[in-house]
Homo-oligomer: 140 residues x 3
């Protein structure tokens, strides 16, 4: 059993989804491990991670709109001194994931056909976001 850890910097051009599937899969390839568990952790509280459908881009626009209703900027938030998009960002992160655990086998993440890994930037601004990828596995 071997541990392999790598930090990734991902440029998020603004609020919305960034597909990180290939970046995470590349860490699995770089590790040389063939069978194990891949944990991707986002080191922020105003961005999050989700596994979502990777085909129709509308499937990433609809969740954005839904979150605008569930945790809207227009709501009265007590924590409002970092801008109107800050507390909604924390709330949206809380309703989704901070880490994603995906097993891998034969050197590949065992994702279903339509599954992609997404970093979800919840602030409006462009920002570099840090992901920490932890692998735990073996080379068969």
């Amino acid at each position: 059993m071997t541990i392999f850890q790598r930090q990734l910097e991902i440029m998020a051009p603004g609020r919305g989804f960034v597909d990180v599937t290939a970046r995470v899969q590349a860490v699995v390839a770089a590790s040389g491990l063939t069978r194990g568990l891949c944990t991707t952790f986002v080191m922020h509280t105003s961005a999050s991670l989700v596994i979502q459908e990777n085909a129709d881009p509308a499937v990433r626009r609809d969740p954005e709109r839904l979150m605008s209703d569930l945790a809207p900027e227009s709501r009265t938030w007590e924590h409002d001194d970092e801008g109107p998009d800050d507390m909604p960002a924390h709330a949206r992160a809380m309703l989704t994931q901070t880490s994603l655990c995906v097993p891998f086998s034969a050197g590949r993440l065992v994702l279903g056909t339509w599954q992609g890994l997404y970093l979800w930037q919840h602030r409006r601004r462009a920002e570099a976001r840090s992901l920490f990828v932890h692998l735990d596995g073996q080379a068969d």
Copy 2:
């Protein structure tokens, strides 16, 4: 340390919860491992996983009704070409879990008394759903 991986096919008879606790516990038993971490991963974006109370069946009906309000079929969704229950299914999956990590000890998942593992089918139709169970542990 040993890795043990197994894919399970679960029949979901339609929208709602399917208790998979016994199926996942059976993988732990089959592995011969006594102490470790069990990660269950759902290979779909229109079904999800949750740990929920395993006693009163009403505790599984109430969340279904809540999701009908939080991510309703009646909402205007841009992605609507796979049926009225498709985009709500993606949204509900996003608001719950794609993977569940449960430690085990003495060969048993360390679940609290009232905790069960559930596959939550969000499409209306009956479907076979794939779970991938990854164990990482040791035989004491």
Copy 3:
């Protein structure tokens, strides 16, 4: 590779957030492991875990208010025989996390500057809550 497991009892004084970052970090220190993955699992269905901003306390009050709107006590719940705060507690747990996976390196959880680990008690009453911490790693 070594496994280290410890159960923690956390006193929750009532509905709200309890910072457990130091308690979980102390388990990492006690293990002697320097590099690995730390999984914290809550053994209840009416409390949950979240990673949230650790600076301004208002960032923990706003999510409480948001949940009061998303899964309110005033809603008609079928499961209502354990008090008006019981089914909302299950719903709020379902919308957040039952387990948190955080990698560690050089003996420290790789949390971002503003990230803290919180137990979120959803029942109104004070209760002792059980967390199960599972580590899987190595001493470099």
